[in-house]
């Protein structure tokens, strides 16, 4: 036992501080370990021959030549895998839904260009790729409808015969009497909004490494995934392996944004092959494969109409959403994830009594769609915020004012939207006001008007939205899905050396959760951050886990960390109380030292831990407790996050290129654990949102070929295309979640497309142009301007 120092320095709380990240030194020194960095001795490399047909029957596969190439070890197609693995079924209780099974390799029929058909295993990746060329596949082309509207029509060729239709998802949200409202409404605006297909483009391509332990008959899969727990659970079923002999590890992961948040065929494949061949098997995607076979996103057409009264108050909204979900429903989210959320979030953060939103999810011969940062809400916010601006223009009302009138106000929370979502209290109005204040909105309007008078195309756009974050067990992340996304567990232990280890089911892939969770735990336990080791991304850490997605980790894992740390601390103090012979209530912990408030005795965590674990008899048998806890947190409903984005743009009348000249985000993300990390998430999200608004589009031509399969064709934002982003954290009443945290990883991507679309429309408003398709590329702007010039030949159309 040591004497306490005379002056006890009260350590400031870590939560709320701009703490530098724990992850950084290893990543900066090139000592991170991503899946492709791991190559165990004897590893085989698998390369995949993918379909070059959008829809075809496989008549035959010839592998003789490929097998003859020196270094090639084996060639597998679906027939060779029979009996080695069962399919994964993306089930859902949703009425009328048809689950399309997922097999590692196409069985008899291919349904999109890029679908895995044949796997070649070789001693090196170079040889495996050489051999791909030597595989002969004989296809019999089948009819197909590449556009969702055609695929949904009666008599369209079926992609999955046994589904009996290409429309495997159909749902309706309805509240009030929307048609009656529209009959009498003084103001109606409408449009057909199209958010084109995107893809996540994490900088690390997907990579998987499976190793079979012959001695233990156990499999370890290293996967660049953000849902290792979900992958473990589904593969356990596919491979018929118990969870204690199947471990899925996500080491350092180079970004996901949702693209690494679903089960992939290649994960199933390497697992099955490693067990069969009893050798490690590795797959690393190249960028072409990533752009043509990683899950894609959005791709909706939203036909929507908004009815308002003469004061600009919203009366009713009706919408038909058609989602092009691609060729298969994805595991575990299903193809419903994206389009259904578009319909359910469409009413947005606004007071609106009458709504009808119908949604269909349509199979087409394209890569499956899945989660991508923002899920559903980038599209729904784009459509709704465009409608609001169109209404404001029709009414001659300022876009800020119309939002102020309609955003749900503080006394109305909790507010149930017309689609049934409940908005917990959040700073809807305050964010709008703060964004406009920060940007000096009146001054911006004057600057725009002056520029416009000089013939320049300058515009301002606002977008307000709300989202659900940290969703608990009450609501399924995707409709009717049979996995639990609503709880999170933290297993915290102080070991015999006094060190703290905290294990989580999340899988951080850039969000800095090793840092933020250590901040929370160090504060709760009263130790130093560097004493806490946060473990995550490993299915073996906890009995059940899922991963990091849906802006849930700070809320759920932060809550679980708090609960577990409190239990461990109570045990620690009870042990210390016995050892120091003072009541536990008289003790406090800070900086890894436990002190008695009244006397000047103290003990370090290490001393207490040694006494508990190693000091036989120092604590009586019946009082001795392991310094561990495993508590689960369930926020049940979760909480809302909200923001307003403001963008100012200028369009070059020569090149039709859009420059974002000003950008402000005012957001309510509750109690902030680490402002540095929150700002980084906002900036990164806005960049992806600007990409979605101005650059990014996956294009399939009429033959079903992806024509954007390189980074020279699928453009993402670079440093010169990004504005500086002004960020205002609005301090509002904290949500009821443990710790007061809200999730905030996705907001940037939700608000930016709408704000940019509104700004571009504002810039082109003198020409009477409305923006209804994203991205607004120079080509699209050129065509809109030309069409406007044909409509109004006399009008001056800018410089």
């Amino acid at each position: 036992m040591t004497g306490a120092p005379d002056a006890v320095e009260l350590r400031p709380k870590l939560v709320g501080q701009r703490v530098r990240r724990t992850e950084d030194p290893r990543l900066l020194a090139g000592a991170g370990r991503y899946v492709d960095d791991l190559t165990p001795p004897g590893a085989l490399h698998v390369a995949i021959r993918r379909s070059d047909q959008p829809h075809a029957r496989i008549r035959g596969i010839g592998a003789t030549e490929a097998l003859a190439l020196p270094g090639v070890v084996a060639v597998f197609d679906a027939r060779d895998l029979e009996g080695m693995i069962r399919p994964a079924i993306p089930a859902s209780r949703m009425a009328g839904y048809h689950a399309t099974p997922i097999w590692p390799l196409a069985r008899g029929t291919v349904r999109y260009v890029g679908e895995p058909v044949v796997a070649v295993l070789a001693e090196s990746r170079y040889v495996a790729e050489d051999a791909l060329e030597l595989v002969a596949i004989d296809y019999e082309p089948l009819p197909f409808a590449i556009r969702a509207a055609d695929a949904a029509a009666d008599g369209a060729p079926l992609l999955h015969e046994d589904a009996g239709t290409n429309v495997i998802i159909a749902r309706e949200f309805a509240r009030g009497d929307v048609d009656a409202v529209f009959r009498d409404a003084p103001v109606i605006v409408g449009g057909r909004f199209r958010m084109t297909r995107k893809t996540a483009v994490a900088m690390e391509n997907r990579s998987y490494l499976a190793a079979w332990d012959r001695g233990r008959a156990a499999l370890t899969l290293h996967s660049s995934t953000n849902i290792p727990g979900i992958i473990r659970d589904v593969l356990a079923g596919c491979l018929e392996l118990p969870g204690n002999r199947l471990r899925v590890v996500a080491p350092d992961v180079g970004g996901s944004f949702g693209g690494k948040g679903s089960l992939y065929q290649e994960e199933m494949l390497v697992a099955a092959l490693a067990r069969r061949l009893e050798r490690p098997v590795k797959f690393t995607s190249d960028r072409l494969e990533d752009l043509s076979a990683t899950s894609q996103a959005f791709d909706e057409v939203i036909e929507a109409e908004l009815a308002l009264d003469a004061e600009g108050m919203l009366l009713g909204l009706r919408a038909e959403v058609t989602g092009d979900i691609g060729a298969y429903s994805i595991y575990p989210w299903t193809g419903a994830l994206e389009p259904v959320q578009v319909a359910s979030f469409l009413p947005g953060p606004y007071r609106l009594a009458h709504y009808r939103g119908r949604v269909r999810g349509v199979l087409t011969p394209k890569p499956p769609t899945g989660p991508y940062r923002g899920v559903g809400r980038p599209s729904s916010t784009f459509a709704m915020e465009r409608l609001i601006d169109m209404a404001a223009r029709k009414l001659g009302m300022d876009p800020m004012e119309i939002r102020r009138r309609n955003l749900v106000t503080a006394p109305e929370f909790p507010y149930r939207t017309a689609s049934g979502i409940v908005w917990d209290r959040s700073a809807f109005q305050e964010c709008l006001a703060a964004a406009c204040d920060h940007a000096d909105y009146p001054a911006l309007l004057r600057a725009r008007d002056a520029a416009r008078a000089a013939g320049r195309w300058v515009g301002i756009g606002l977008a307000s939205y709300a989202e659900l974050t940290g969703i608990g067990s009450r609501i399924s992340v995707a409709p009717g899905m049979p996995i639990n996304t609503g709880t999170e567990t933290a297993a915290i232990r102080i070991d015999a050396t006094g060190a703290v280890t905290a294990a989580f089911g999340i899988a951080s892939h850039g969000q800095g959760l090793e840092t933020t969770l250590a901040q929370v735990i160090a504060d709760e336990l009263g130790c130093r951050m560097e004493d806490v080791e946060v473990q995550h991304g490993d299915s073996a850490l906890l009995p059940a886990s899922s991963g990091t997605y849906a802006s849930r980790s700070a809320v759920l894992a932060g809550g679980a960390a708090t609960l577990s740390a409190r239990v461990v601390k109570a045990k620690l103090l009870r042990a210390a109380a016995h050892l120091m012979d003072v009541p536990a209530e008289a003790l406090e912990a800070s900086g890894g030292i436990i002190r008695a408030r009244s006397s000047n005795t103290s003990m370090s965590f290490q001393e207490v831990a040694q006494a508990v674990y190693a000091g036989m008899g120092r604590i009586p048998r019946e009082q001795r407790e392991e310094l561990t806890a495993s508590e689960t947190y369930d926020p049940y409903l979760g909480t809302a996050g909200s923001a307003t984005h403001l963008a100012m743009v200028e369009i070059d009348p020569g090149t039709y290129g859009v420059t974002v000249t000003r950008y402000v985000v005012a957001e309510d993300c509750g109690r902030i654990i680490n402002p540095l990390i929150v700002d980084g998430q906002v900036q990164g999200g806005v960049a992806q949102g600007i990409g979605a608004a101005l650059l990014e589009e996956v294009v399939h031509d009429d033959d079903g070929q992806c024509v954007t399969a390189s980074l020279a064709d699928y453009l993402v934002p670079i440093a010169t295309g990004m504005p500086e982003i002004g960020i205002v954290h609005v301090e509002a009443v904290l949500p009821a979640t443990l710790g007061g945290f809200r999730g905030m990883g996705e907001g940037g991507t939700i608000g930016a497309p709408a704000a940019i679309a509104n700004a571009v429309a504002d810039a082109l408003s003198p020409l009477g142009i409305e923006v209804d398709t994203l991205p607004v590329t120079p080509d699209r702007i050129f065509r809109m301007v030309e069409a406007a010039r044909l409509r109004n030949p006399g009008q001056r159309t800018g410089a």
């Binding site: 530098r20 990240r21 992850e23 950084d24 030194p25 290893r26 990543l27 900066l28 020194a29 090139g30 000592a31 991170g32 370990r33 991503y34 492709d36 960095d37 190559t39 170079y126 996540a200 483009v201 994490a202 900088m203 690390e204 391509n205 350092d252 992961v253 180079g254 970004g255 944004f257 190249d286 960028r287 892939h509 850039g510 969000q511 800095g512 540095l676 990390i677 700002d679 980084g680 900036q683 990164g684 999200g685 806005v686 960049a687 992806q688 390189s710 980074l711 020279a712 993402v716 934002p717 670079i718 440093a719 010169t720 990004m722 500086e724 982003i725 940037g748």
Partner: protein
Amino acid sequence: MTGRADITLSVNGQSYTRRVDPRLLLSDFLRHELGLTGTHVGCEHGVCGACTILLDGRSARSCLMLAVQAHGAEVETIEGQGTVAALGPIQQAFREHHALQCGFCTPGFVMTILDMLRHHDLGDDAAIREALSGNICRCTGYEHIVNAVRALVRERGKPA
């Protein structure tokens, strides 16, 4: 297959002699032959900059070069810029300014910035952004990277 070639090159000041396939990419050579996995591969078609190294002092994309082309050259990679315990100045600035999230693009940025700081003014943000425009980061939105470089430029101006 054509015969293998013997190459000798210096990587981070250490000399290596290896027998390689003539078609082996320099990025794969560094990663898989030398085990220097800090150099990352994001596209293999010269667009993303994740694989950037210094070749005889100037930045180069290791995915667009063959290992045999680096015969006789001096190569520097992220591993030569600092250690986990003692980060180099650019790495330190990245940490200070939270200029990385997933870290996958980071080695390429650090190597690019090393070259840019040595050879360019980077007098304003526009010049900094221009210097970074050959590297893609999907996580950060670039603002914190620009902040880190701005701070490095300021440091560079100070007398030693």
